[in-house]
């Protein structure tokens, strides 16, 4: 029979100050950790919805993103040689979407418009709604040839002046009023931070005769890498990347920042290991006689070792739960909306940090692991108590 868990649980409350202080250390570390994981998770979630491996983003050779790419209509025509393009089941037309990307500076709502974000404006044709499979209209769409736009859900949530009925000033000199007529969702992907309008009207307003990029949806049998190679080859001579590869490149800089912060947080985790070890050593040292007693009434070395580890895990989970609650409270109080630049797009990608049950479980597992690491050395010491000597001690 193992030692009852209530024995460990009650022990935590024998030394209330120590338990509380250790819990606070763990809670702080877990709080920061979950925030970071939440951030990285939100970013990955957003990008994983832009993960259609059968969608090719075609740019001009040399361009690093849709923002600085320019594709002439004759370049676009060359793309008709590309095989394995999916077709629109209704019209039978190949799903190739010529698009133009520009930007507009919009006030952030979370600081009441003191700072501005660069939001992408995408000029699209009907084909875009076939190519971008994750984009869904919420209500009314724009009519082609009109001065109307639709706004991504996340953009509408985080930026001012882009709600239904508002007019945004777009165009080469920012003097053409476009009316917001509807919203769209992109399943949480980066396109949800964009504004979409009719391609021809927008090109006219921006005085452009070139597209920025062409998005091509391939059929299920196609090998995207092979098609991309063909596009890069001499007959087309454009640059093609699958959507996941494109967004991976765009988020490289953010990953570097996350890496820096992640490195620092892992140092904090090590500090937490030491704090737990310290506490458990003290607990064990104060209970030498108790352990000797347990040994004499028949509990084995391993049972005592396990018992000490379990106690530390309890302690850590208590702290971990406090940390998760603190993190959630921080997100509610300080706001969970974030937006950031792509590496070379110069446009904003907005997302919301959310704590998912997965993350909470992950953080608690991690902290339990930290507790095991910290508690093992003192637990080993506890299990090796010399029974006779310990009992004889005053």
């Amino acid at each position: 029979m193992a030692l009852p868990l209530s024995y460990n649980w009650r022990n935590l409350f024998v030394r209330k100050t120590t338990t509380l202080l250790t819990c606070l250390v763990i809670a702080t570390v877990v709080g920061v950790f979950t925030w970071l994981v939440g951030f990285a998770g939100a970013l990955n979630r957003s990008l994983s919805y832009a993960n259609d491996a059968h969608k090719l983003i075609v740019l001009k050779q040399g361009a690093t993103s849709e923002t600085n790419s320019a594709i002439l209509p004759e370049d676009y025509n060359k793309l008709s040689q590309v095989q394995d393009v999916a077709v629109n089941p209704k019209t039978g037309e190949p799903l190739r979407s010529p698009e133009m990307i520009v930007q507009v500076s919009l006030p952030r709502r979370r600081d009441n418009g003191t700072t501005f974000a660069n939001v992408a404006v995408r000029g699209v044709t009907d084909a875009a709604f076939g190519v971008h499979r994750n984009v869904k209209l919420l209500g009314k769409g724009f009519s082609s040839g009109s001065m109307e736009v639709i706004v991504g859900e996340q953009a509408a949530k985080q930026f001012g002046g882009v709600q239904i009925g508002d007019t945004i000033n777009l165009g080469y000199s920012g003097n053409r009023g476009y009316k917001v007529v509807g919203y769209f969702s992109a399943n949480g992907g980066p396109m949800e931070t964009e504004i979409w309008g009719p391609l021809t009207t927008l090109m006219n307003s921006y005085n452009r005769n070139m597209y920025s990029s062409v998005n091509v949806l391939l059929n299920d049998k196609a090998d995207p890498d092979k098609v991309a190679k063909f596009v890069q080859g001499p007959s087309v001579d454009l640059n093609a990347q699958t959507e996941p590869a494109y967004w991976y490149d765009q988020s490289k800089n953010i990953r570097i920042y996350l890496g820096i912060v992640g490195g620092l947080v892992s140092i904090m985790c090590v500090a937490a290991i030491f704090a737990i070890a310290n506490t458990m050593y003290a607990t064990v040292a104060g209970r030498t006689r108790e352990f000797a007693m347990l040994r004499t009434i028949g509990f084995s070395k391993n049972q005592i070792l396990l018992s000490v580890v379990i106690e530390a895990v309890f302690l850590a989970l208590l702290g971990g739960a406090m940390g998760c609650i603190a993190c959630e409270a921080w997100l509610v109080l300080a706001g969970n909306t974030k937006d950031m630049f792509g590496a070379t797009t110069f446009t904003t990608m907005a997302f919301e940090i959310k704590l998912t049950p997965y993350m909470v479980v992950g953080a608690l597992l991690l902290v339990a692991g930290v507790a095991v690491l910290g508690a093992l050395p003192p637990a080993v010491r506890a299990s090796r108590v010399h029974v006779i000597d310990a009992l004889r001690e005053p």
């Binding site: 250390v25 920061v32 000199s173 620092l264 140092i267 310290n278 050593y281 003290a282 950031m340």
Partner: protein, 392 residues
């Protein structure tokens, strides 16, 4: 005094494990503090340098990708015909750039050559460099960080493919590696050279457009004056402008990326909190273990103040030890090993200044004092009779 020191030493070495673990639990947060402060102050230094340069950045009001006509430079300069208060107006166009077979994109800006020298006098180009830059319209000033990555040196010929239309490969001659430039990653080339290439390849493209102007002012008062005047000048024209000082302009980029400074500041505050908790925990454990001792000391006639300072100095010594280790570790690692050459965004190389280390040690000392407050006050108030009665 002598007795005190012996007692302090004995106290610290009595439970070596605890001392070691506590030192580590204080040292690691100090490592985090030192590292994140170094990054934050690096970014601050970058921005402060920008602020000192008395430059304004003029962009299109609609967004940074909307371009302005190059003729604006003359109009801006006409605000001060003497050239004393408004020294230069340099048109710039971002052309990005990519090397062949290298995925990492470059940051290259095409500028008005003569105005550039006047507007960016903080680059401290030598007379030979200036002459070479002005003489050759294929000249390029490369960032020293970028130069280090690709092994470039003055006199090299390099070809960079522009990331904006017409996306052709441009050949450049390196004339300087800008040793004094704050931004170590950006390369600067002649705008006329890029424009020529654009005209040759896409004749129908609009010529003479720039991404932004950098305007050099004579004094701080002039800076504030022209910030307003330039926008007024172009108000109600087709292309309205947005003028900010260089610091605000750069800061917008930095905060849009991840807002590393803000996040690291929060992290370092939190981490100090962790150290306080860890040290307090140790001190309260020590107090409980030595409860009898303190009672005995008091019974022997040592005053409450004596016991109070005893606990305070122990905690102080413990945390100082951790603080010194924590401050020295990153200092040695980043200033005296190859680790220091790891590039960090914006600030290039992490520079850990001794003053930051001293701050960390001071913070550790404060942590020590805070950690001992509760136990030492308890010891001060300890009623000898009651405490001794608890002895078995």
């Amino acid at each position: 005094m002598h007795l005190r020191l012996i007692y302090l030493y004995r106290n610290l070495t009595r439970n070596k494990q605890r001392t070691l673990l506590t030192c580590a639990a204080v040292a690691l947060p100090m490592v985090i503090y030192v590292l994140s402060t170094a990054v934050v102050s690096g970014v601050d230094a970058f921005l402060d340098n920008s602020a000192r340069q008395l430059r304004l950045a003029v962009t299109h009001k609609a967004s940074i990708i909307n371009m302005l006509p190059e003729g604006y430079a003359l109009k801006i300069k006409s605000l001060d015909p003497t050239g004393e208060r408004l020294r230069a107006a340099c048109g710039m166009r971002w052309i990005g750039g990519k090397m062949q077979n290298v995925t990492q994109p470059l940051s290259t800006v095409a500028v008005d050559a003569e105005e550039f020298i006047k507007a960016f006098d903080d680059f401290k180009l030598t007379e030979t460099e200036k002459a070479a830059w002005l003489r050759d319209h294929q000249a390029i000033i490369v960032g020293r960080g970028t130069a280090a990555i690709f092994g470039w040196k003055v006199g090299d010929r390099i070809s960079i493919r522009s990331s904006v239309p017409p996306y052709t490969s441009l050949e450049f001659h390196i004339v300087s590696t800008a040793e004094h430039a704050q931004d170590a990653n950006t390369n600067w080339c002649h705008r006329s050279y890029y424009e020529e290439d654009l005209k040759k390849n896409i004749p129908e493209a609009t010529q003479g457009m720039v991404s932004f102007f950098f305007v050099k002012c004579g004094s701080k008062a002039d800076l504030d004056f022209f910030r307003v005047e330039i926008d007024k000048l172009f108000a109600r024209t087709i292309d309205e402008t947005k003028t900010q000082d260089e610091k605000a302009f750069m800061n917008e980029f930095i905060t849009q990326q991840f807002d590393l400074p803000r996040n690291l500041t929060i992290l370092s505050i939190v981490t100090v909190f962790v150290a306080v908790m860890a040290a307090t925990n140790t001190m309260s454990m020590n107090f409980r273990d030595r409860f009898n001792e303190y009672a005995t000391l008091k019974a022997l006639g040592f005053g409450g103040g004596y016991v109070f300072t005893l606990i305070q100095t122990e905690s102080l010594g413990l945390c100082l030890l951790g603080g010194i280790f924590g401050a020295l570790m990153p200092y040695v690692a980043f200033m005296h090993t190859p680790l220091g050459r790891v590039p960090v965004p914006v600030i290039q190389h992490l520079e850990i200044r001794p003053i930051v280390c001293l701050h960390a040690i001071a913070i550790a000392a404060v942590i020590g004092l805070i950690a001992a407050v509760w136990p030492s006050v308890l010891a001060l108030r300890l009623k000898v009779v009651a405490a001794l009665r608890n002895l078995e």
